[in-house]
């Protein structure tokens, strides 16, 4: 009798406390994963300063970076400072920012469109930005204007897509119409890009246009990095704050509404934020495909589909991934391979491998 009661008590205790404890463990394991990813990113960040043709020691890197914050006795050469601050720092920061922006907006779009095949340029932002950039190159404008044109036309393309879809959609087909409008707008801007290339001077303008379209960070400067930080943060912060609602959104509009989500407003916020981030990324780096599509996937394999963790983890992994690829791009060969090309070449096989290895396919 006593044994029975005892066993019963244990059972009850397990029932009451058990699931709570295990969920806490899960939550804390998510936290541990995020902390680990964050730490790995910090190591990668500092490590990236050491990579390159001009040798610098870890000491130099720390001293030079800290000297920017505090007054510090100079124990390094001026060349080193130029390399670290003028050359490597903007590149590393830009790779982090661009990767994080593309991956975060990709993750948000995949939840909103309920489709893991979606990437952040589905609404035409890349095509629009490309047109803006090649137009500016064609008009012989300087780098600042190229970026501004890219940014402005990226926003314009998405605005056209969004307005067209709100005019065309009736009740519950908003998503489908949005994607269709995006495809059409992308096609128009791609044709315009082709037109500009066709008209461009094949000896001076065409190579510059082609080079820009391939995507890269080789000409980045500190000022340009500073310029994109603002729009990226404006895009990032609302997404991070509202990330849990993306879970609800991925069950579809009707269910999300019945669960109390104002889907129209949330969708506008997501589109606006993702567009801001992607347009600023494209403006400094050109078109870098695949990051926005595959990083959220890889991240889902690591931390699961819950946006509470998925979004910040995508951000970290996206930044890290692009930083690694950019490190490879600037050191592997004496001629730099454009980042956009290398991203696809490196990213695609990794992605295929992980999909096959995980065996859980798209939905895991």
């Amino acid at each position: 009798m006593y044994v029975e009661i005892y066993a019963d008590n244990i059972k009850r205790r397990c029932k009451v406390g058990g699931s709570l404890v295990s969920k806490d463990k899960i939550l804390s394991s998510d936290k541990v994963k995020l902390q680990f990813l964050g730490l790995a990113l910090v190591v990668l960040f500092f490590g990236s300063f050491l990579i390159g043709r001009y040798p610098v020691t870890p000491d130099n890197v720390f001293n030079i970076l800290l000297a920017k914050l505090f007054s510090w006795p100079q124990t390094w050469t001026d060349d080193m400072e130029t390399i670290i601050i003028q050359v490597r720092l903007p590149r590393i920061l830009a790779a982090l920012l661009v990767g994080a922006a593309l991956a975060t907006s990709g993750a948000a779009y995949q939840g909103m469109f309920r489709n893991p095949m979606v990437s952040p340029d589905i609404l035409g932002v890349s095509a629009g930005a490309s047109f803006g950039a090649v137009l500016a190159i064609m008009l012989s404008l300087d780098f600042f204007w190229i970026q501004l044109f890219a940014f402005a036309f990226g926003l314009l393309a998405v605005a056209v897509t969004y307005l067209a879809s709100t005019k065309l959609s009736k009740n519950n087909d908003t998503m489908l119409v949005l994607v269709l409008a995006g495809i059409i707008v992308s096609m128009v801007f791609s044709s315009l890009v082709a037109l500009v290339k066709y008209l461009a001077d094949p000896f001076s303008k065409l190579p510059a246009i082609t080079f820009w379209l391939m995507g890269g960070l080789s000409t980045i400067s500190v000022e340009e990095v500073v310029m994109i930080v603002g729009p990226m943060l404006i895009g990032l912060i609302p997404l991070v704050l509202m990330r849990w609602k993306l879970n609800v959104m991925s069950f579809g509009d009707e269910e999300a509404q019945a669960l109390g989500v104002n889907t129209g407003r949330l969708r506008s916020v997501i589109v606006l934020c993702a567009t801001l981030m992607t347009a600023s990324a494209v403006a400094v780096s050109g078109v870098i495909g695949l990051v926005g599509l595959i990083v959220p996937h890889l991240t889902r394999l690591v931390v699961g589909p819950n946006y509470k963790v998925l979004l910040p983890a995508s951000m970290i992994i996206g930044g890290g991934f692009l930083l690694i690829v950019d490190n490879v791009s600037r050191t592997l060969w004496s001629v730099e391979i454009p980042l956009g090309i290398l991203t696809s070449i490196i990213g695609a096989p990794i992605f295929m491998y992980l999909l096959l290895a995980s065996r859980r396919g798209w939905t895991s």
Partner: protein, 259 residues
């Protein structure tokens, strides 16, 4: 709490589906909505839930017109159990149930410990705590239907609207789901509105029945009043016999095909 539908007409832009429907029910009652395929039951539900705009008429909760209510306020009163389906991502069951807490969270908030405890209690009420850690896309259809009921209950609503909760479930799961609905309604904490294709279900777990018939007819009353052999024949166009079955103390009407 009382839910009142007054002279409601619904449908799409140039296609009216249901017109001039009125009904009234309160928390603790269960209403079964019957009617042949394509008569507009789902459209009617979507309109009650505010997913479709009514063509005319109003919906009241305790006398208050809900048409101007924000989504979140409405969701805290009325929960929706859709027919089960596959979401694109492999969420954990507990995470799915916690999504029901959205109605009680601010725009920038995400669920905390209290919400998790409520979700776990709901799973426990439905006797499916064992599913909590499982992946929603990998459990059976019946289990998924119960999880969706759990999610709606986590909203802590006064009314539950269920769209064919027994559709495509096997015999055993149908009865399990119906039993849960019965218990929910008799507990007095929620009012249940559900659609079904089986008049038997109405005898089994409904205190009120509404039938949407062909040609825009709408009949509302208790199961015994509404579900008669003659009326079933009129609505579904088949001959039906209603028999009283006694099993110990339990007496229940069932419908059998008369052919």
């Amino acid at each position: 709490m009382e839910l009142e539908v007054k002279n409601l007409s619904c449908g799409y832009l140039n296609r009216p589906v249901v017109s001039n429907v009125s009904l009234k029910m309160s928390t603790g009652e269960s209403l079964c909505l019957l009617g042949p395929n394509g008569v507009g039951k789902t459209t009617f539900f979507k309109t009650i839930l505010g997913l479709l705009k009514p063509r005319s008429g109003q919906i009241f909760l305790d006398g208050e017109d809900v048409s101007k209510w924000p989504r979140r306020k409405f969701a805290a009163k009325v929960g929706y159990v859709p027919q089960y389906h596959m979401p694109p991502f492999a969420f954990e069951v507990l995470d799915v149930v916690i999504m029901g807490r959205n109605a009680h969270l601010g725009s920038f908030a995400s669920p905390g410990k209290k919400d998790r405890i409520i979700a776990e209690q709901v799973l426990d009420t439905l006797n499916i705590s064992y599913l909590s850690k499982r992946v929603y896309t990998e459990i059976s259809g019946g289990e998924r239907q119960l999880v969706l009921i759990a999610r709606a209950l986590a909203q802590e609503p006064e009314f539950l609207v269920m769209d064919e909760p027994t559709a495509s479930l096997d015999f055993g799961n149908q009865i399990k789901v119906l039993n849960q609905i019965n218990q929910l309604a008799t507990s007095g904490k929620v009012g249940v509105i559900m659609t079904t294709h089986y008049p038997d279900h109405a005898f089994y777990c409904a205190s009120k029945v509404a039938v949407m018939g062909k040609g825009d007819t709408f009949v509302f009353g208790t199961p015994d009043e509404v579900i008669t052999e003659a009326y079933l024949q009129e609505v579904y166009d088949v001959k039906v016999k209603i028999i009283l079955v006694e099993n110990g103390d339990v007496k229940r009407k069932v419908c059998v095909s008369a052919v």
